[in-house]
């Protein structure tokens, strides 16, 4: 179709653009103005002067960010927590989906899916409350231990326990959702494949290995590249709900670091520089992972 000139297009399709206008305004004001606002990373932002009029500071804040040991710590923690979640958490829904696929009782499948699915939609605040109930100094676990005269375990105040709580609660919250995604992928496998394998004498295990797994492989790859692509985002709401200064050593991630430096301490330029670094690495990761996935024959995410 011949394209109209800009103004003719606008006037011919003004009703279309009118429909999209609220969304366009939203994106301009709350996505692209803030994206421009990143320039404060290269300025000495002052509340009085605002984004535009604050004086330029060059790379001063960027250098300060890189030299900051707490930033370096947050960067390392972000990577470790994200990787830990992938290593411990990623296989769980795959295994659950494969197990559930072998269950013959339909009612059980339905029940399991319904219950597994709920935690994903609950707030991390709710989870934090439940975790406190169970694991804090006077919680259920330590209550039972106290009854047996065992010492109190500082689940939320000791680094390794804290990481364990992060990994396990992430699985409890997210595994059901991903299991349902895999189950949806499983339904697209042609049942004839199984029948053919049967008649060739393949065992259930062999069928799982050669039909079921390849059948969901593309979904597995898709969810894996999404996870690796968002490696820089280790779960802000989760950590923010659960951490405390005692566990900053292992638990402070880039998001929480940016929040504290910017919103709590008011060092906006420094925090914006740290946030910019996080966003850029995230962008590079997404592109890299997507390219690698495409090389291996996956359609990729974009």
């Amino acid at each position: 179709m011949q394209q109209l000139s800009f103004w003719k297009d606008l006037s011919r399709y003004r009703q279309m653009y009118l429909l999209a206008l609220p969304m366009i305004l939203f994106y301009l004001i709350f996505v692209y103005v803030p994206m421009y606002g990143i320039v404060i990373a290269f300025k000495d932002y002052s509340v009085v002067q605002g984004i535009l009029k604050s004086p330029w500071a060059g790379l001063e804040h960027v250098k300060a960010v890189f030299a900051n040991p707490f930033f370096q710590r947050a960067f390392v923690n972000t990577l470790l927590i994200s990787l830990g979640k992938i290593i411990f958490g990623f296989p769980v829904p795959v295994i659950l989906a494969l197990l559930l696929n072998e269950v013959r009782h339909r009612w059980f499948k339905g029940l399991f899916q319904n219950i597994m699915f709920i935690p994903y939609f609950l707030s991390w605040v709710v989870f934090a409350g439940i975790i406190e109930n169970l694991f804090n100094g006077s919680g259920l676990i330590n209550g039972i231990r106290a009854g047996q005269s065992l010492e109190v375990i500082p689940f939320l105040a000791e680094g390794n326990w804290f990481l364990g709580i992060l990994f396990v609660s992430d699985i409890i919250k997210g595994a059901g959702w991903e299991t349902v995604v895999y189950l949806a992928a499983l339904t697209s496998i042609d049942p004839h494949l199984y029948e053919a394998a049967e008649s060739d004498g393949a065992s259930r295990w062999k069928q799982t290995l050669h039909i079921t797994l390849p059948g969901i492989a593309s979904t597995v790859v898709l969810l894996l590249i999404l996870r690796v692509g968002y490696l820089m985002f280790a779960g802000f709401e989760q950590v923010f709900s659960l951490y405390s200064p005692i566990v900053y050593g292992v638990g402070d991630i880039l998001d929480t670091f940016v929040y504290r430096m910017g919103i709590e301490q008011g060092d906006y330029s420094f925090a914006a520089a740290a946030g910019l670094f996080q966003g850029l690495i995230g962008l590079i990761l997404l592109f890299t992972v997507n390219q690698i996935a495409k090389k291996t024959g996956s359609p990729g995410i974009f």
């Binding site: 103005v33 994206m35 709920i118 935690p119 707030s123 605040v125 934090a128």
Partner: protein, 283 residues
């Protein structure tokens, strides 16, 4: 399937999966237990597997204490009004994104996709919201969160699956775009509208980070208050409600905030199973 696995392997399977289910269910059972037993009984013993006594006082308190009622009201308002605006703005915008004959078609689609790949972080957004004087107004919890790119794309994909003939017929009858959208497209889009209502609704109901930094304490939604109670950063609350140990009250609030989510989750799941969301992960 012909080659049936023996009964004992079924039993093992169901056993493993049931354990996983219990790991999810037990914590909720425990929270309910704490929320319905008198606080003095709760603190008298180290742990309880069953409620020791029974009371609904903490639930009554949620609906009687001014500050808690107010917070629940804010949560409901932001969820209802916010979600309505989310669905309207997202729906109308997503519809236009699918119109390839528009000159700005590519630009508009890029505009929506870019934020999925790169964001400036929370600081610039916070400064913009503050510069617009949206802080300290309940609208500050709604307007800056009108569209989510992932959901915009989901809706766009849904509209793309509708037959074009209906729209063409409407145009031939002389209907304009807005009328075509509201009379033809919207009635056909009830399933996606339902999904969007659930997703955006869950977002608003659960949101606590931005709510906690954007508005003054008298406009806090319940999630922010709950977080403060859990983290015991709020001394004001304890002064206001003397003699209460937060654990019983927070447990009751947790249950009140969880019940709506449990009620809607089967509906969300139904749409998931249909593969709607899975197919739309790819932008």
């Amino acid at each position: 399937m012909i080659n049936r696995s023996p009964w004992y392997s079924q039993a093992v399977l169901i056993g493993i999966l049931t354990l996983f289910m219990l790991a999810i269910l037990f914590p909720f059972y425990y929270v309910i237990t704490i929320s319905v037993m008198p606080n003095e009984n709760y603190v008298s013993k180290a742990f309880h597997l069953f409620p020791d006594g029974f009371t609904l006082d903490y639930y009554k308190l949620i609906f009687n204490d001014n500050r808690l009622v107010n917070a629940l009201g804010v949560s409901v308002f932001v969820t209802v009004v916010g979600t309505f605006l989310n669905v309207v703005v997202t729906g109308a915008g997503a519809y236009v994104l699918g119109k390839t004959h528009l000159r700005l078609h590519r630009t508009l689609n890029l505009m929506v996709i870019i934020p999925l790949l790169f964001g400036g972080g929370i600081i610039p957004l916070y400064l913009v919201i503050r510069a617009l004087n949206l802080t300290n107004s309940i609208w500050g919890l709604i307007i800056p969160f009108l569209c989510n790119s992932f959901y915009v794309i989901l809706m766009k994909n849904f509209f793309a699956s509708l037959p074009v003939e209906l729209e063409e017929a409407a145009y031939i009858d002389g209907a304009k775009e807005i009328k075509t959208f509201s009379r033809i497209i919207v009635p056909l889009s009830k399933p996606i509208m339902a999904v969007m209502t659930l997703f955006y609704g869950v977002f608003h109901w659960n949101e606590f980070f931005w709510s906690g930094i954007l508005v003054a304490p008298d406009k806090y939604p319940m999630m922010v208050l709950l977080r403060q109670l859990i983290r015991r950063v709020d001394t004001q609350m304890q002064v206001q409600l003397p003699g209460l140990i937060p654990m019983s009250l927070t447990s009751a609030i947790i249950i009140v905030m969880v019940v709506p989510i449990i009620l809607i989750s089967p509906f969300i799941q139904r749409f998931f199973i249909k593969g709607m969301v899975v197919g739309a992960v790819k932008a």
